[in-house]
Symmetry: D2
Subunit: 139 residues, 4 copies
């Protein structure tokens, strides 16, 4: 199935509407129908003590990634909001770009549920795993 939003539309949308997105160097790579790959550039802005990427930066990336996967299924829809996000941080990433892969596991009438795996661009090991639920209000 063709995604209901393109990489370019989604990137423009989030850059215009979510100031954290350009600050964190978040760049959409791929969107499918219920899948998305999004990359976060390593920069000073994502740091935390210890020279590693901060949890909030990783959660921001995961949130945007699962959101992209949702919009890939339902189209641009600003009123979808996150209702639950649960993150497990599995190891400290080194100073590198982080790539997030998200996919929707269930699209219901009112809720979408997905997961997201985060890795650095260089390594196979998971840095973090996130699950997230989005409400889909009636149009």
């Amino acid at each position: 199935m063709r995604p209901k939003i393109t990489v370019e539309e989604f990137q423009r949308f989030i850059e215009d509407e979510i100031p954290l997105v350009p600050m964190l160097g978040i760049r959409t790579m791929e969107i499918g129908s219920g899948t998305a790959i999004i990359r976060m550039q390593f920069s000073e802005n994502v740091l935390r003590p210890g020279g590693t990427v901060s949890g909030p930066a990783l959660m921001a990336l995961a949130d945007v990634t699962v959101y992209a996967a949702v919009l890939g299924m339902v189209g641009r829809f600003e009123h979808s909001v996150t209702t639950n996000l649960s993150a497990n941080f599995l190891r400290k990433p080194g100073p590198a770009d982080v790539v997030a892969e998200g996919r929707i596991l269930k699209l219901g009438k009112r809720l979408a549920f997905g997961e997201c795996s985060l890795r650095t661009a260089e390594e196979e090991d998971l840095v973090a795993h996130v699950t997230a639920t989005y409400s889909i209000p009636p149009r």
Copy 2:
């Protein structure tokens, strides 16, 4: 019990080490032994579509708040990292400062577990509720 870190020490520490903190206008108000109150200023930087505060900004605030409550018990300790953070978003906050109250529910030898309630400065209703676990590596 006296907290093991002061408001000023913690604020300086996070401002120096976590670039997201000044970007998001995060300001420490109180730290006790296992408790903390931290405020996030409403600004363009915390926005998301719909004119409300973004989930990642709220999670960043909650993460810092529970971290402050942990350091209030164990002292400045950079190597403590979040291992799990679970956020429930309960209603969209209006355009207002957000105040987070965190408290530690369990301090073990290797893990600290706490919760955090987020409200706007003007209203009593919860905006979000977060639980978080921090690892405490052996010194």
Copy 3:
């Protein structure tokens, strides 16, 4: 506010409808409007390796407790279902009854969100902490 379900009604309802409830020795102690206290008797049925109470038994107790707190606000309503439950196990309880205290933090039109603290009947320290979301379908 008076609770919309009594201890006796709720206990009869869960005993009739949820076979795990009598198996696990779950007994409702108090229900308020958005609060509940429920006790689980120590018995062979709740065991796990190490002579301690199993995680699933604790999660069953917490689920029923937050459910009781929800029904205390909305009345007997069988079609409310758990949509998310997140449990943190903080220490191994000894061989003792476990008491769960639940309270609703947000009652919306479609979702109720609550938390639950679990302790043994003898000790103050938390054994586990649970957050849970229930859907409330339109009647």
Copy 4:
């Protein structure tokens, strides 16, 4: 890699040590190194109001399944305990056996993290998704 525990060993272990396992008709199907498939028989014992499988029964199944996947990597090890379990219930299963597939996403020195997908034996759609963390104390 060969799993460090066999289906028979694991099944005997959990039946002997966790009374809920035989009550809920939980039967180990496959264990690999970091993976497991476990089935829960539909019976009166797993019911909840509405004729569907109860959340606690599903969480018990998921907990055992991720535990099996952990022991598939580290061998029989009774002192491993669940520290966090987060369940998302995606749709009400009909009256049918439930099959859980678990896999470990990260095995560290002190913690193992895994996920579990639950489906009925007849349908492809997810019934629930669970993530869980287990502590692995030093031997």
